[in-house]
Symmetry: C2
């Protein structure tokens, strides 16, 4: 779409700014404006041989083995936050879900529900971040869809992504494989994503800005696979609901107990301060670039060393163990020597975090 209407020579009639700088309802009509939205704002960034065919569907050869597939809708508000935006997050989130199955992420689809009036400048930054995140992860965005809804609906932008990854028979971490005696590790500091979002929303100012940890964790998974193979029992990304919810699900699925050490939890100072200020428990706050890793205690140090060899995993550390006592339940040894139960949250701690 150009910024001027053709007129007899010597005259010019710039379109009103609102008409050219923001998404309009017509961009979702399936007509010429839709084609322009695609051609001007998506294809230049996402271009690849599969997507560029623009068929009703993308055609892929996935090979004879099994694949892992995961879908996620992202409704985070605000759209842009320290350490990332909804676009990068939508790529990382779905890729991480297939990585947690032990798969190597390969392909991604993207569906955009755009609010009328979203500035193209914002959309472009988000699309560029998505493209960069996909490229960094070595993943191709093979097909997509755009819809436009009226002003006031959709908070600017919602994004759905579906990720496909390829699996090998010899590497199948799964929650039910958590075994009594296993060590529980995390690959880095906790609660950064959720608190980065909350700090922006609540207008909190700290000396050190809290940045989202949003990242594709595949390189960490690859290192664990190379170092330990089948001895990696469980991988889980503690997103919505945080470490507490993820561990409760693992305890229930595997029928084991889980003991955490409060003093071992890597909560960065500014994150801990923000949590305290807002009355939030960091164990329930979302992470978007951290993995819970469960391995036999005998190889835990080896796992930590493998993780620390990658920049994303320098903060890798032990936070607890799988135990035979209280199956299905997560408990925590507190800093003052007591023990408390870490429940699933009944309702909502932080809405619209991812």
């Amino acid at each position: 779409m150009t910024g001027t209407i053709s007129l007899p020579q010597g005259l010019s009639c710039p379109l009103p700014h609102a008409a050219i700088e923001r998404v309009q309802l017509g961009h979702g009509s399936g007509g010429k404006l839709s084609a322009e939205l695609l051609g001007d704002h998506f294809l230049p960034h996402f271009s690849n041989p599969v997507l560029d065919q623009l068929g009703d569907a993308a055609v892929l050869a996935l090979g004879a083995g099994e694949v892992a597939i995961s879908t996620d809708s992202f409704v985070v508000t605000p759209l842009e936050f320290p350490g990332g935006n909804i676009g990068a997050l939508a790529v990382h989130g779905s890729l991480n879900d297939v990585a947690m199955m032990g798969a190597v992420p390969r392909y991604l689809t993207a569906g955009f529900i755009i609010e009328e009036g979203l500035p193209f400048a914002v959309l472009d930054r988000i699309v560029v971040a998505m493209a960069a995140a996909a490229a960094e992860a070595g993943v191709t965005i093979v097909t997509g869809d755009t819809k436009v809804v009226e002003r006031g609906k959709a908070d600017g932008l919602y994004i759905n992504t579906t990720a496909i990854g390829t699996l090998e028979r010899s590497f199948r971490p799964a929650p039910h494989r958590a075994t009594v005696g296993d060590a529980i590790l995390v690959t880095g500091p906790l609660a950064s994503h959720g608190m980065a979002i909350m700090a922006v929303r609540e207008g909190l100012a700290f000396e050190a800005e809290i940045e989202s940890d949003s990242a594709c964790v595949s390189p960490l998974v690859e290192r664990l696979r190379a170092a330990l193979g089948e001895r990696v029992h469980v991988l889980r990304d503690p997103t919505r609901g945080g470490v507490a919810s993820a561990l409760n699900e693992i305890a229930e699925t595997a029928g084991v107990g889980i003991e955490l050490d409060e003093q071992a939890l890597p909560i960065p100072g500014p994150v801990a301060a923000a949590c305290e200020m807002l009355g939030l428990d960091p164990l329930y706050v979302a992470n978007e670039g951290v993995v819970i890793v469960i391995v036999p205690e005998g190889v835990a140090d080896q796992a930590i060393a493998a993780l620390r060899a990658h920049p994303l995993g320098v903060g890798a550390t032990r936070i607890g163990r799988i135990c035979g006592a209280h199956p299905g339940m997560v408990t925590m040894r507190t800093g003052i020597g007591g023990t408390r139960v870490v429940n699933m949250l009944p309702g909502d701690q932080l809405p619209r975090i991812c």
Copy 2:
């Protein structure tokens, strides 16, 4: 979730109706309420061995051949309309996209963005319709995701679906294969979906209610494949933007001209009346259970016979031809003997139709 709070014997305290009959923000938190939303309102309807594992991702064996994959977000308003609802539409829409590549649809993912306050009664009807549509198409919903956004954001419900279908080498219809001399068919009456939605929105009352044609068209594709194989040059579902937009895209992609016969277009009487009343051109109105089929003229009658043997295709008919004149352009012989150009729409005819 139960409808009462436990109190000492003899007392009872029913929860307010709003709390138990409608989706709450907490249902999107990733905690206990999220698990209940899933367990009470999705899993009972979608249950299958892959989905029931509830991992971070689903694991599938797709075979060694190629697959077609397509994603689509559905934002139709109203959520329920004559002939269907957003749930069935979200299944049909994505399955049809992979069917247009010649693929047999196999698997589906589903992402739900639910507005706080959506009555569970409505959600349940939509989920039941999705499950029925998937079952009828022989497709499994293998993984999904739910998010909840605040009241006023999302018009009740948005649904994203991603479909995966398996492809055979010997059946690859594609827009660029449209060839001068080919016949252009449609498999049934046009413009029913869009006008069913518009009639509800505008409160139009006709003697005969207009019903959406929303349907999975795979059985029609299967019959064409069996009857004609590689001689099926192009399949295309004329959804958003209607027949006019789909044919313009085909003309441009294949570098051919297209001639339509206005009098051959199968527009049902009530649909034509509604279009006239609202000043809409049925060629631009969305269809959700119709296919544009392009085959060599010599086998066109055979294709029509194959289509008419299935209930979805009884209205199959010829509407035009591929010509060498005016490449990239669609024209129409009008009822009064003239010829007019059928353009891509520049902007918006009907928003929020799918």
